[in-house]
Amino acid sequence: MTRTTLAAILIAAPFAAQAQELNFYNWSDYIAEDTIPNFEAETGTNVNYDVFDSNEVVEAKLLAGSTGYDLVVPSLEFMARQAQAGVFQPIDRTKIPNYDNLDPEIMRIVSANDEGNTFGIPWMMYSVGPGYNVDMVTQRLGEDANIDSWSIVFDPENAEKLADCGIALLDSPTEMTAAALNYLGLDPTSEDAGDLEQATELLTSIRPHIRYFHSSQYINDLANGDICLAIGYSGDILQAKDRAADSGNGVDIRYVIPEEGAQLGFDMLAIPADAPNPDAAHAFIDHFLRPEVTAAISDAVFYANANREATELVADEVRTDPGIYPPEATLQKMYSAKPHSARYDRALTRAWTSLKTGL
């Protein structure tokens, strides 16, 4: 036994008698390696950490009730609807001294979907855009092609040229349709049937050139060179870039927020109404909001955070990457999702099925 682990046990020992539990349900690949161990060592709380890779699965669990989780991380537009169903308890700010570290401007944007910032604390922020294999794409589209635009995939001519090296789209009707609407110059949050038809038409025109629709598989495939372009989440694509660089396989991945803009999203820490250990959940949120803890997570997962005090602690390569921390001019063109009406969700899913299967 090393001296440090012995020390950790000695420090933790006095708390062991009143050991707390925390059941934390987070996205996969979305935390620093030492976040949980540090929190456990410091507070003596025993953390059960569990992961998911789709908002829909979390939502189904939450709506069924009695999940046993104390802390979950749905995306903002999902959290909004779940809160409406009465799934969450309000965040008690008196238990979170570090609450003031949150950037008020970001909290204002978030409050559009979480009135008064009642139920959620931003965990990380993401954008949805194209990530690609630089060599394969320039080889097929030519040196002077504009690869900072959504036309890299939404222009059928480009998609056709990239079909042989593999294009993957997110299997998410919400995010893909919003991107198509935005590219067409329409309101990305529109629920208008005519707009949906136009967006589906655009997606249908590139459909023959799409290899697959999936929401996490593209990370490995991009890194290994099995596909050359994926529409995905910013940090996931940057993790693929990182993995490719680590393996030294010569694959060079790039993520850009296209000049037409992209969806800006928030994943939110929220506490279920029936959480068995709400105190532990609040304690973890407070721990997370320490600038050095938040910064370490951003460094590990390549996502931006909403902690104003953490920004200067984030590594330079992450903080200055415009794909992670978009500059002011880019930020102006970004849009957020809104929760859909049930009727629109049905129309959207139906359009998505017909896009994928032709029925």
Partner: protein, 287 residues
């Protein structure tokens, strides 16, 4: 005591089939809502009156959109073709095991069961590694010079058939083996003595005697294959249409538990009707 033993399977069926089926049936005639759980209650007390709202609209909805009919048909087709392939592959294997010397027979049976020692999910994931563009199959073929461009195998219907046949083949082999190993070898000798060629013997003696095994194996492959979700989701392409993924969409993307429940109820009926019919035909033949 004997009555208790006889009641056990019924209790099992009641607890793990009938009760969940009734719960599903009850959700399928409800209406979706933004609530926890996300559908409206069936019974409501208002002004001292108990009212029950039955909403059959979900079933009418399934009939109106051809998507559902096509998904059921496509699932049945994929399951039927997979069952046939598994039968054609599994029969000779089961036959060879049944005819093998006793010592080797146990080893061969062991080899059939061996894949179950690893998780089903891991084995399907392993196929992704084998079939992908940069995978083992393509690399070997490229190295041998058989092809000069990687074949697109993953994310096709072919990969789905491969996955289903691979996964369910043991369920075909085991019941076939059970009937074939019990078959009396003297019957074959008698047929040969009377001048029947091996092919005739097989068609007139072996095959008819092994029909119970053929039926049991086919059921064990066909029924789970119809509702298969994981294999098409991991190996299939976006165009692979199966009722499992339609159900997923209703439940997770549309959050419409009532329609999802209706899809599931119809699937049970689609499966139960032909099987009951088959049983009846079988019973008639036996009597």
């Amino acid at each position: 005591m004997r009555r208790l033993v006889a009641a056990l399977p019924l209790m099992w069926l009641g607890l793990f089939f009938l009760v969940p089926f009734l719960v599903l049936l009850r959700i399928s005639v409800s209406e979706p809502a933004i609530a926890q759980p996300p559908y409206l209650p069936l019974f409501e007390w208002a002004d001292g009156l108990l009212t029950m709202t039955l909403n059959l609209g979900n079933y009418i909805f399934l009939a109106e959109d051809p998507l559902y009919l096509f998904s059921y048909l496509s699932s049945l087709k994929i399951a039927a073709v997979s069952t046939l392939i598994a039968l054609l592959l599994g029969y000779p294997m089961a036959y060879a095991i049944a005819r093998a010397p006793t010592g080797r027979r146990n080893l061969l049976l062991m080899l059939v069961i061996l894949p179950f020692w690893t998780s089903f999910l891991l084995r399907v994931y392993a196929w992704i590694g084998l079939l992908k563009a940069n995978g083992l199959v393509n690399n070997v073929l490229l190295w041998l010079g058989v092809i000069d461009q990687p074949l697109v195998i993953l994310q096709t219907d072919f990969a789905v058939y491969l996955g289903i046949v691979y996964t369910y083949l043991p369920f075909m082999i085991l019941p076939l083996y059970a009937t074939l190993s019990k078959m009396d070898g003297d019957l074959l000798e008698a047929a040969a003595d009377l001048g029947a060629r091996p092919a005739v013997t097989f068609l007139t003696v072996t095959l008819p005697l092994s029909m119970p095994g053929v039926l049991a194996g086919s059921m064990l492959v066909f029924i789970p294959a119809v509702g298969e979700y994981v294999i098409p989701a991991l190996l299939g392409g976006p165009g692979t249409l199966m009722i499992g993924s339609v159900l997923w969409n209703e439940f997770f993307l549309n959050r419409d538990w009532p329609v999802a429940a209706a899809v599931a109820i119809v699937m049970v009926l689609v499966l139960a009707l032909p099987i009951t019919l088959l049983r009846r035909i079988q019973a008639q033949e036996e009597s």
